[in-house]
Amino acid sequence: MTKYILHRIFWLIVVLLVVSFITFSLMHLVPGGPWDKEKTLAPQVVEALNKKYGLDKPFFVQFGNYLVNLLHGDLGVSYSRQDRSVTSILLTGLPKTATLGAIAFFLAIIIGIPFGMAAALKQNSAIDYISVLFSTIFASIPGFVLGILLIIIFSVTLHWLPTGGWGGIRQIIMPAFALATLPAAFIARITRASTLEVIRQDYIRTAQAMGLQQRVILVRHILRNSLIPVVTVAGPELAFLISGSFIIENLFSIPGIGRLFVNGVFARDYGLIMGSILFYAFAVASINLVVDLLYAVIDPRIRFD
C-alpha cells in the first residue's frame, strides 16, 4: 500500500512538471502578451515591465527560474493583482471556493444517491420517472441559466436572498444549488444504473432467499456495491467543484479561485495562469489518488499489490 502511494506521488510530480511545461509554453505561444493594452504603452514602459518581471530573458531561463521558485513554494506574482503573490491570492480564494464546492458536493450526494437508488428500486414507477425527468432537466440546464433564474426568482422578485457576494449562508444557497444540480443529476443516473445492475446479481437473490430483511440487503449489499461507479465519478466531480466554476463565481460575485484562471488568461497574467493550472492539476491528481484508495475500502476485492 505504502509502495503504491509513493509510486503514485512520484507520478503526480511528473504530471505536475509536464503540465507546468505545457502551460508555460502555450502561455508564451498564444498571441498577445500582458502589456498589449488598448492604450498602447510606450516602448520604454514595455521594456521596464519586461525587465521587472523577467520577461526579457530567454524562454528556457524563464521556465527554469519558475521551477526553481516553485521548489521554494513561490508561484510568482500576479501582474494584474498589484504584484500580490499568486500563492497568497490562491490561498485567499481557496477557502471560499472549497467551502462552496464542498457544500455543492454534499448537496449533489444527498440529492443524487437517494434519488438514483429510489428510482432503481422502484423501477418504472412514478418515483423512477420523476427521478429521470429531474435528472434530465438538471443535466440539461447550464449553470449560468439556472443561476440567473434563481437570482430572478429569489432576489429580484421575492427579495429573499442576496444576488451574490460572500460572507454568510444566505449568499451560499443559490450558487451552491446552481453548482450542485449537474453533478446531482449525473450521480442520480449513475446510481440508478449501477443499482439496477447490482439488484439483478445472484448474491442479492440469495440474500432475499435467505430471508434477510430488505433494509439489511439494501444497506449491506446493494448500497455498498452500487457505490463503486458513483465514487469513480464523484471524485472528479469533487475536484471540479472545489476548484471553482468561473461561470458560477462570476455570476454570483464569489471571491473564489474559479474566476482567477479565466481572468488570468484574459489578462495574460502568466503567474496567475500557472498557479491556477498547477493547483487544478494537483487537485485532480490528488483526488484521483484518494478515490483509488477508497476503492479498496469499499470493495475488499480490490488490492494494490
Binding site: 498589449d36 498589484q82 429580484v156 444566505r170 471571491p255 495574460r268
Partner: protein, 549 residues
C-alpha cells in the same frame, strides 16, 4: 411516515424563515449615509504612481488628492496647491519651462501629518523609478531627467541614484514645489491634476513595501480612508475624520466588484447597490419601465468609437474608398438598433464636451448613399461589387459581434461591398492592432485629460505610440508640433482645430459614435456630480458631495 415528512417539512420552513426573514426586516427609520456602488472588478493597482485604469482611479480618488483637480465642467481647480500656477502669478516661468506650486498648508495626511512639497517630490521621482515600471510615466517625460531615469533599467544602483537626483522636481521648502520641464508643455497643468502625481508618503512605502496599499497602511490625504479591502469582493471606505476640506456627507462608500452585467442589474433591483449599469440591449426596456425609467441617468462621456483602417493596406490606402465607407453607414440606425438608443452619431474625432469639438466637421459623412457612391467612383470603383472583399477584425467580446454584423450588412445593402468579419480573442486582437497586423478594426478612445493634445498627436501623428492606422501626414505633424508648444490657448486650440479637420478629411478611421453613459441611480441619492471623465462609477470625483436621503 406522513407525520415524519410533515415534521421535516415544517422544520425546514422554520429554518428557512430564520435565515430569510432578517433580510426582510432590515429597513430602519434613519437613512444610513452609505453609498454602495460597483467597480468592474479587482483593481490591478491602487498605488497612484502605478495605476492606469478607470477602476483603479475610482479607488485612488477617494483616498488621495493632488495639487490640482478638475471641476465638474473639467476646468482645473487648485486642491493641494493654493492656486493654479500662471505666468501672471509667477507660478509658470516666462519660457513655460518652470512650474512653481505653492502648497496649501492646511492639507494633512489621514494620520495627521502635514502634506509637504517633499511628499510630491518623492512621488514624482518615484513615478520615474524603472523598477516600479509605472504605465503612465511616459505622459511626464517632459520633466527634466525623467525619461533618462525611467529608461535606465540596466543601470547600476549608484547611476540610478544620480539619475533620480537629476529629475527636475524639487521641494524648495515645505510648501513650495518646483518642477522643471525640458520643453514648454501647454497641458502640463492638466497632467498635474491626474493620479500618477498625487503625493505619496516615503516613510509609509519604505516601512510597508508592496503592502503599503493594503489597509490600514494606505495613508492618503483625501476625503475617505480605505477601511477594508476584501480582495475580489469589495472595498469599504469610511469618512476621513481629519480631512482638511469640507467633510464628506457620506459615512461610508462601498465599492463592490460584481463583474457580470446581469448580476449587477439584479443587485440594483434587489437594492444591494445604489448605482448600476444595465445589460447591453436592455436600455429601451429599462427606459420604458414605470419604475426604472425614472431612475435612468444619461450623460455624455469623452469617448469616441470608430473603425480604424490600416491605411498601408489596400484597398484602405485609398482615401476616397475610406470616405465612401464613412458616408455609407447610417449611424442613427446603429445607435438606435445596436446601441439601444444610447449615444450620439460621430462624424469627427474629438467628442462633445471637449475643447476642440466641432459639430460642423464631417458633413460629407452624414448617411448619404448617393454621396457614398460618388466617393466610390472617385476611388476608382464603378460599383461596390468591384471592391475587393474587406476584412474587418474585432475583439470577440460584449456587443462587438453585433456591431461588426451591422457594418457588414450596411455596406452590402448600401454599396454592394462584401465584408468578411473576423472575431479574435481580445488580447490577440489588441496585439494584432498594436503591431498593425490587421486591416480594419473596431476601437475606441477615452480622454485621459480633456484636451486635443490627448486626442490628436498620439493617435494620428506619424509613428505615434497609439497611431495604429499608420496614417502619416507631414502637414498634420507640423500642426501638432506647433500646437504642442503654443502657450497661447486661443492660438493653440485653433491649431488643433485645423489638425482635426485634416484627420476628418483624410478619414483614417470610420467615425461612428460618441459614447453616452447609461445608468440607474436610486432616487435617494443626492448631490451626484458626474463628468465625462468619470472612472468606473458615475460621479466618483465628487463623492464627498453625495448624501442619501
Amino acid at each position: 411516515m406522513v407525520k415524519k415528512i410533515l415534521t421535516l417539512f415544517f422544520s425546514l420552513v422554520i429554518i428557512a424563515s430564520m435565515v430569510v426573514l432578517p433580510a426582510c426586516s432590515s429597513s430602519t427609520s434613519s437613512t444610513p449615509q452609505v453609498l454602495r456602488v460597483n467597480i468592474a472588478g479587482e483593481p490591478a493597482q491602487i498605488d497612484p504612481n502605478r495605476a492606469s485604469w478607470s477602476t483603479e482611479r475610482t479607488v485612488i480618488m477617494q483616498v488621495f488628492e493632488g495639487l490640482l483637480g478638475f471641476n465638474q465642467d473639467l476646468s482645473l481647480r487648485a486642491i493641494g496647491a493654493t492656486e493654479i500656477p500662471t505666468v501672471a502669478n509667477k507660478g509658470i516661468s516666462a519660457d513655460g519651462k518652470t512650474y512653481t506650486f505653492k502648497l496649501n498648508s492646511k492639507v494633512t495626511w489621514s494620520d495627521g501629518k502635514k502634506v509637504t512639497a517633499k511628499d510630491y517630490a518623492y512621488s514624482i521621482k518615484r513615478l520615474f523609478d524603472p523598477a516600479l515600471a509605472a504605465e503612465y510615466t511616459s505622459f511626464y517625460f517632459d520633466i527634466v531627467g525623467g525619461q533618462a531615469y525611467y529608461s535606465a533599467t540596466d543601470a547600476a544602483a549608484a547611476a540610478k541614484a544620480q539619475l533620480r537626483d537629476a529629475v527636475g522636481v524639487k521641494a524648495i521648502d515645505d510648501t513650495t514645489l518646483e518642477i522643471k520641464l525640458s520643453a514648454p508643455h501647454p497641458t502640463f497643468l492638466q497632467l498635474m491634476a491626474l493620479w500618477p502625481v498625487y503625493p505619496i508618503r516615503e516613510d509609509i512605502v519604505t516601512q510597508f513595501g508592496d503592502k503599503w496599499t493594503e489597509p490600514p497602511n494606505y495613508i492618503g490625504n483625501g476625503p475617505f480612508l480605505l477601511k477594508e479591502w476584501m480582495h475580489e469582493d469589495h472595498l469599504t471606505f469610511v469618512k476621513n475624520p481629519d480631512y482638511w476640506g469640507t467633510k464628506p456627507k457620506l459615512d461610508q462608500v462601498v465599492l463592490n466588484m460584481i463583474s457580470d452585467a446581469n448580476a449587477l442589474f439584479a443587485a440594483y433591483q434587489n437594492n444591494e447597490v445604489d448605482i448600476a449599469g444595465v445589460p447591453a440591449g436592455t436600455e429601451k426596456k429599462v427606459m420604458a419601465d414605470a419604475v426604472l425609467g425614472k431612475e435612468v441617468l444619461r450623460y455624455a462621456e469623452l469617448v469616441t468609437f470608430a473603425f480604424q483602417f490600416n491605411v498601408k493596406v489596400a484597398p484602405f490606402n485609398n482615401v476616397n474608398l475610406r470616405k465612401a465607407l464613412n458616408a455609407a453607414i447610417d449611424r442613427d440606425a446603429f445607435i438606435n438598433n445596436v446601441r439601444g438608443g444610447v449615444g450620439k452619431a460621430a462624424y469627427s474625432w474629438i467628442p462633445p464636451g471637449m475643447p476642440g469639438y466641432d459639430a460642423s466637421l464631417g458633413a460629407d459623412y452624414h448617411f448619404n448613399v448617393t454621396k457614398a457612391k460618388e466617393f466610390l467612383t472617385a476611388a476608382g470603383y464603378a460599383d461596390g461589387s468591384k471592391v475587393p472583399e474587406l476584412r474587418l477584425q474585432y475583439a470577440d467580446t460584449g456587443t462587438n459581434p453585433t456591431i461588426a454584423q451591422f457594418v457588414q450588412n450596411q455596406l452590402k445593402v448600401n454599396l454592394g461591398i462584401n465584408v468578411s468579419i473576423e472575431p479574435m480573442e481580445r488580447k490577440a486582437f489588441t496585439q494584432a492592432v498594436n503591431a498593425e497586423k490587421y486591416t480594419w478594426a473596431w476601437y475606441g478612445w477615452g480622454a485621459d485629460y480633456p484636451d486635443p493634445d490627448n486626442w490628436l498627436p498620439q493617435l494620428f501623428g506619424t509613428g505615434a505610440g497609439n497611431n495604429h492606422t499608420a496614417y502619416s501626414n507631414p502637414a498634420f505633424d507640423a500642426l501638432c508640433a506647433q500646437a504642442s508648444n503654443e502657450l497661447d490657448n486661443t492660438k493653440r486650440l485653433k491649431l488643433w482645430a485645423d489638425a482635426q479637420k485634416m484627420v476628418v478629411d483624410d478619414a483614417p478611421v470610420l467615425f461612428m459614435q460618441y459614447r453616452e453613459r447609461f445608468l440607474l441611480v436610486k432616487p435617494n441619492i443626492q448631490g451626484l456630480k458626474y463628468t465625462g471623465m468619470d472612472g468606473d462609477v458615475a460621479g466618483d470625483m465628487f463623492f464627498p458631495n453625495v448624501s442619501m436621503k
